[in-house]
């Protein structure tokens, strides 16, 4: 693909010193939030740092994890909870990796089958412009009625047990009193198969990143009932996952990569670049979707119902602004709180410290020390304040982690999650 005209202003490539690798191999899953990595390659930000960033498409998060562990990748487009799970040693090949840079925010949504949504409308009189919490409450009413009628619970899909999608879907349901391990069946469906699974009736809803939600809506099988900003605007999404032994052998390459990604993230956040970005992402080697659809998504314009209803969501994708790349320790800890809440890991004070170690704000700060960037004053903050509220109305103060976890009414004890198959 030819780089757009914006590359002309880039300086000559810098040389990476010594024996360090110039080539950086990065695995990714085809989703819009690979934008920062793609821009780093296609616009030339990586080359300007003297790096040859090679993007390698893969089909599963398990592969991303394993190919990172077995040195086929040096870094990867990774679900933020994967890094946390990897340092906690949970999952089936928990090889530790760390996240020194977040690849932006946004993109997730929850889509229910049209049949299920029309049931919610009929039962609760939804007109279509209700907020995400009202939709969740309507879903609860339908689930309760179906149970009373002796019907099986709905089956909901997400993409990976350690994913923002899993925790956001559960958080949304629980905010309305739906217990995700008792009232519904949670399963995994790979993102490209979600719309088909919904169409075939194999699942009744899913939470996944873009563009798969509006693909389901525009093919007439799904209805978007909540988006990530409805649940928690600054909820962590993908991160740059790094293999520790690669970082140790190539410290300068890692720093240069972060500088390149920072520049790429700024570029992606500039609305004037969205048309170019959409064309880049549309390639079969990246996301493989129509550029027009991608451009609409980048602008936060979502078709939410096959009847044509739209929602305009400012900041649906944020690639750089509002410290979107900063690896907040408080966000690693929030992810940990959800892992504990749903019984994936037992809560102990030393576990929490390990979970936080997956995020490396110290590396972020060191790499960008020379850049014109305003750093946050601390590595951790109280989450869910002002315009960044959680859907359940609570705030997350990492200093009060025990109380935050203890106050969840709906939760699952470790080892007791149901066998929902």
């Amino acid at each position: 693909m030819t780089a757009p005209a914006t590359t002309s202003g880039l300086a000559r490539p810098a040389q990476v010193r010594g024996n360090e690798a110039r080539l950086v191999r990065a695995g990714f899953i085809p989703l819009i939030d690979i934008a920062v990595l793609v821009a780093a390659v296609e616009v030339g930000f990586a080359a300007r740092e003297g790096l040859e960033l090679q993007l390698i498409r893969d089909v599963s998060w398990s592969n991303i994890r394993d190919r990172l562990a077995f040195r086929q990748f040096d870094v990867a487009h990774m679900l933020s909870p994967m890094a946390v799970a990897s340092v906690l040693g949970i999952g089936s090949n928990p090889y530790p990796s760390f996240a020194p840079f977040a690849l932006g925010r946004g993109g997730n949504a929850i889509t229910l089958s049209i049949a299920l949504y029309r049931d919610m409308q009929a039962m609760c009189g939804l007109k279509g412009d209700e907020d995400a919490l009202t939709n969740a409450r309507a879903l609860k009413d339908v689930i309760d009625r179906r149970r009373a009628e002796g019907k099986p619970p709905p089956v909901f899909a997400m993409t990976y047990p350690f994913s923002s999608h899993n925790y956001e879907f559960r958080f949304w349901m629980a905010s309305a009193g739906i217990h995700p391990d008792r009232d519904v069946i949670m399963t995994v469906v790979p993102p490209p198969l979600t719309a088909d699974a919904l169409a075939m009736g194999a699942i009744d809803g899913f939470c996944v990143n873009a563009p798969w939600n509006i693909m389901a809506v525009e093919s007439g099988v799904g209805r978007i009932v909540a988006t990530k900003p409805d649940i928690w605007p600054s909820a962590p999404e993908k991160v740059l996952g790094v293999r520790p032994d690669w970082a140790e052998a190539n410290p300068e390459s890692l720093m240069r990569l972060i500088v390149a990604l920072d520049a790429a993230a700024r570029w992606c956040d500039t609305p004037e670049n969205h048309a170019d970005l959409a064309v880049m992402l549309s390639g079969e080697n990246y996301v493989g979707a129509s550029p027009r659809m991608l451009e609409r998504l980048l602008a936060g314009d979502l078709t939410v119902d096959p009847d044509g209803r739209h929602r305009s969501i400012p900041g649906y994708f944020t690639f750089h602004g509002q410290h979107a790349n900063f690896p907040w320790l408080s966000q690693a800890l929030w992810t940990y709180s959800q892992m504990v809440r749903w019984g994936q890991v037992e809560h102990r004070a030393e576990q929490a410290a390990v979970a936080a170690s997956a995020y490396r704000p110290d590396i972020y700060r060191a790499a960008l020390a020379g850049a014109a960037i305003a750093f946050p004053p601390a590595d951790s903050k109280v989450e869910g304040l002002q315009n960044d509220g959680f859907i359940d109305g609570r705030i997350f103060d990492p200093a009060r982690l025990d109380a935050y976890i203890g106050d969840f009414k709906l939760r699952t004890e470790p080892g007791t999650s149901n066998t929902p198959f």
């Binding site: 398990s62 949670m186 790979p190 066998t419």
Partner: protein, 196 residues
């Protein structure tokens, strides 16, 4: 006394590759092998088979589905990824390179599983070679066909003999430093555009 046979589940949407692997495992004396081609009923099938070893190709997105099952399920005995036991680095490297992944019931000794994984690796590699040869043969055939069509078009529109038309394309390809099949493709496209 020989150890009891291991039950092997092969998850592969590619029926040909699965067949090649199953045939190899049978020849090596493993009799209890089940192939799961569709991922729709993955857990039900795995529960029925209750395998000691699960072989799945790395290109199968259902690996993430397995991951979730192992998180929540008490039905299937807890399998672990073969990658967890990193004692045999060479074998794991070979498996990753070949695109094979295996899950092994926890506690099963690696020596017993190794021949199965080795077999999967060699059969996957053989299948890959076969596929490459097939692809090459197919594209060669297609190129021959397109060159024939372009030749026909040139003969008709420019009144050339067969050899002259062929020589013209070859010369053009040499001049433009392109492959003859590419020149032929341009001729066919142009003819279609011009309605010939």
């Amino acid at each position: 006394m020989a150890p009891p046979f291991l039950r092997v589940a092969v998850i592969d949407e590619n029926a040909l590759r699965a067949a090649i692997l199953v045939e190899g495992l049978r020849a090596a004396g493993h009799t209890e092998i089940e192939v799961i081609a569709s991922t729709a009923s993955l857990l039900r099938r795995l529960t029925e088979i209750d395998p000691d070893v699960i072989i799945i190709d790395l290109q199968n997105p259902s690996r993430d589905v397995l991951e979730q099952m192992f998180q929540v399920s008490r039905v299937v005995s807890r399998p672990v990824a073969m990658f967890v036991d990193q004692s045999d680095g060479d074998m794991i490297q070979a498996a990753v390179d070949a695109g094979v992944s295996a899950y092994i019931v926890d506690g099963l000794r690696m020596e017993r599983v190794k021949p199965i994984v080795d077999m999967a690796v060699s059969r996957f590699n053989a299948f890959e070679r076969l596929q490459r040869e097939l692809d090459t043969a197919k594209s060669q055939l297609e190129e021959r066909k397109i060159i024939e069509r372009a030749k026909g078009i040139l003969m008709k529109s420019r009144g050339l003999g067969e050899e002259e038309a062929y020589a013209l394309m070859r010369q053009t390809a040499m001049n433009e430093k392109r492959r003859m099949a590419d020149i032929a493709r341009s001729v066919v496209t142009a003819a279609a555009l011009l309605g010939q």
